[in-house]
Each structure stands twice: as C-alpha cells, then as structure tokens.
Symmetry: C3
C-alpha cells in the first residue's frame, strides 16, 4: 500500500517489495541478500538491525528488496532464503556467546549498503560476542594480512547496542580471506575457553 511505503524509510520507491526477516542473525541474511541482488534485477532498499537473537548477544534482521517486477522480487527472496544455509556456515555459538565470519570475493549492493564495502571488491566480516572477543579477533585479523579496515563496530558504535564487536575489511581477496580465517582460529579458542564447551556451527563452514 502506498501509505505504508510512504511511511517506511526506503531508499527508493519500487513497485514491488520483498521482505526477509529473522529473529536471529543479520550478517548471514545480508550476505544472502547480496547473493540475491547479484542474481536478480532487484536491489536492497532497507536493512534494519533489531537487537534480538532470542536472548543471545546479537541482532536479528529486516531486509527489504525492491524491484520493478513481482517475479524478480519473489526470486530474490527465494534465493536469499536458500543462500542463508551457506552464510550461516561460519556462525559458531555457545551459551556464553557467538562468533560470525563472512567472506565474499566480490561485494555487491547489499553488502555495500550495509557495511560500506566497495562494489566488486573482496569483503570480510569478523564478529564476536561478547564484544571483548570481537575486539581481540579484529586485531588478529588485521595483523595477519594486509587488509584495509572499513570500520569497527561495537556496542556503542555501528550496532543496535548488541554485545558484539566486529571489523569490516576489504582488500585483495586472498588477504581478506586469510585475515578472516586467522581471526576464526583465535576466536574459537577464546570462546571455547570462556564457555567451557566447543563453539558449534549449525551448517558447514564455507570460508
């Protein structure tokens, strides 16, 4: 409805909108939306990050796709829903916190909009909760490989007061991937020590 459209805070007005939302997870949904906009004639017109995860320390998500054609938008949502199984592959949780890692060799419009990644360049995300683990991992990531920091987010800056710290990086694709992998190694040890249990991913690692 036009009244709803006018009262939402969308970047552009499209005829057709598709909506993707979750109680748990924002990075995985944004990466999956990136896959979807690459494959369809749509773009992401809104990304909002509630403070959620059902008692966890992170975000949920609300993502709105826009397109001129209903079938394009429907396809975008469908692709994103399917791709989430991949992009949850490097999310590791315990009762004490969680770790998230994302990587793409070529960022598209969703990742650009969400995190400021340069279009067509490699992008990596290193995120940890509680935030202290995220800060240490961010440091490891950037020390390991010659990458460029796009931004650092923490409870008071660039998150919805989540208990996470994260670094968004870009650069040469090999370096970005290596930085993410190194941070993951350290993060899993830190979270395991904090939790007394091994951090587990629900889907196969893709990085």
């Amino acid at each position: 409805d036009q009244q709803i459209l006018d009262n939402m805070h969308l970047d552009k007005k499209y005829h057709s909108l598709g909506i993707l939302g979750a109680r748990t997870g924002a990075g995985p949904q944004i990466m999956a939306a990136d896959t979807a906009v690459k494959a369809t004639n749509t773009e992401v017109v809104d990304i909002e990050l509630p403070r959620d995860t059902k008692g966890g320390g992170g975000h949920g998500s609300l993502i709105v796709f826009g397109g001129d054609d209903v079938s394009d938008v429907r396809q975008a949502v469908s692709i994103a829903l399917e791709d989430v199984k991949r992009t949850f592959g490097d999310v590791y949780g315990t009762d004490a916190g969680h770790l998230e890692f994302q990587y793409t060799a070529r960022a598209s419009q969703a990742v650009h909009k969400a995190f400021g990644a340069p279009l067509g360049k490699a992008y990596g995300l290193v995120c940890g909760s509680p935030a202290a683990i995220g800060v240490v991992m961010a440091d490891v990531a950037v020390k390991t490989a010659a990458v460029e920091v796009l931004s650092v987010a923490s409870p008071a800056h660039g998150t919805s007061v989540s208990n996470e710290a994260m670094v968004h990086i870009t650069g040469d694709s090999g370096a970005v991937r290596q930085a993410v992998i190194s941070a993951r190694e350290v993060g899993k040890v830190l979270l395991a020590n904090l939790s007394g249990t091994e951090p587990k991913n629900d889907f196969p690692s893709y990085i």
Copy 2:
C-alpha cells in the same frame, strides 16, 4: 523527591506521581493507561519503552502518571493494572515471535502521547515480531479499510531497536476496527506457519 523529579524527563511537574512498569509489554500498558487517564484526574507524563520482553522480540514499559492528588494517581495506577487483563487480550505469542493488536473508538491522552493518535478519535495498532510479519500485516490492514496511517515503526525507526514492525492507524471507528481484524487474521496464519504452532493469547480477545 524533588531532586529525582528534576532529573527525570517528565513533561510536566505534578505533586503526585504513579508508576506502572513491566518487563513484557508496552502497547497493552499504554492502552490501559489511556483507560486510566480517561477515568481519573491524571495524565501520563512519561512513557519509556525499554527493549525487553525477557528474550522476546519486543518492549517492556515504564509509564509515569501525574496528578495533583495522591488518591487520583493511585486510582489511575489501579485502573490501569486492572485494564491490562483486557488489553493483553489480542497479544498472541509463540516461541518464534508475537502479534499485538489494539483498538479504541476514542483515543485519550496516553495513546495520543505515545503514538500521536488524535484525541477523541478511533485508533488502531497492528504489530508483529519478527518485524517482517509486522510489515506484511501493516500492508493488509491499510489495504482492507479506508484508514489513515499515523506512522509505521520498525527496528530502526520508532521502536527501541525491537524486532517488531507496526502501523498506527486512525480514521472512522468501524474502518479502524476492520483493518485491525483483517491484519490479525493474516498475522495469525503467518506466525503459525513460521512457528509450527498456533499463536495463543493469555487473555480473551477484546477486538
């Protein structure tokens, strides 16, 4: 105490204050406060919405009544506490999310202050968590009946980073009520599908 009063962010300074608060729920408490200000010589001087619900996707509430007389304020709190059993009647929950619907034929000062409803006119609230369900229901509500949108709230706009989307509507009382009922029908099906269980209300529906 005067020092506390001076350091709180109240609209008006009253001699007597009454306080209503909850871990779970904001809409029901605000609607109940509206009933209370209608029935007493008090007004609501502060409404704050923490991000709470004990791990759920919504808000808790802190509502402050002001009046010149202690007994008025006490009565307002008492009426509101009693009326909450009614205003929780159209809150439906599952482990995956929740739905909330409110309706009044005649909005008073609390609903005006909280949501911008015109005084004395009909007001309706359609709210869903996760936010994606709320957006779809908002669209249904406004398409169903000739109502006017006061505002749309979502995780990044008009909520305390909750995982909710909601529409605040006004207009002819019959149309507002019909819009809310139509959204509720759709919302219950969406949340049931998402959850694999039927959304349940803890008190009888009043709309």
Copy 3:
C-alpha cells in the same frame, strides 16, 4: 593494530590496551575497573554498555584499559577480574528482575568517566529492573539521606534501552552509604513481592 585503534572510539591513544567484557553486568565491572585504575598506572579509555544480560533486563559491558606499559595493563585487567567478585556482592536477582547497588568512599577515573562521579568523592549507585522498581528506590535513596543526585537514568535516558532505572549519587560518604542501604531494603521487598521469590546475590554483600 593501528587501524583497529584508529577505528575504535577511544579517548586517548595508548600503546597498550586491555579489554574486559561480559554478557551480564556493567556496574560491577565499572566499579572493579575503578579499583584497577587506582592500583595501576592505567586509565579506562572506553566504556560501552550493550543491552544484554542474556534475556535479563540490564546491560553487559565492554571496558578498555589503556597504559604505556603492557604489564600495567595486564595487571589492571587482572585486578578488575578479581574485584568483580566483590562488586557483584550487591546484585540481587529473580526471574522477574534484578537490583544492583554500588558504593565507594572515593571514586576514581572509571566511575568518573562512566557516571560523572567527582574524583575522590563518595559515589553510590541504586539500580532496579524492571525500571519502575528503580524509580521507587531512587526516590527512597534520596529521601533517606542528604545526598546529591548526579543523574537519573531510565530506559530512554542514560541506558542502552535497558529495563532499568537508576540514580547516581554523591556527597558525604556516610550519607551516600546510608542512602544506598535504605534503597536496598525497600528494593528487596518490592522485587520479592513482584517475583514471589526472595532476591538472591551470588556473592557476599559488601555494602
């Protein structure tokens, strides 16, 4: 790494940083950090308060120590971690909410930075969740003894949309301590009534 430092929002650039973080608790960690900066050649350069507590109504914390020397910073973190067992002594919880009380006869840089307490003067914190209990306790605290209110925080002001209200007080050390103790007596009764169970602390009370 320098890139991480440049992208974090730290007050001062130090050669060495130490990080303290938690899913649950901010006041206890800030008070413990205050003990640590008193005892070492460090200062606190960042305090961030995520909305966390694993489904509870309060905050987690991210605290960054800075120093010119690695061993100083390491010692600060170590002292703070040890002192947290003391500063959790007056945190009382039930399923329905929690109470927190802090007191120091002599506030140092961490408490000054976090809550505006005058350096070297007595400081007291009275905090309750849900926020309604905190407001009542704040009033009791300030009525009981001749103390000065530094600020009142609530879901919409001075918290990360937590479901807490709190008062920060200073003044004569005996008066501050007495105000805190009086609020604690009232708060424990209120929370017990709300919960149907006795509020419990996990560590011995220190106030």
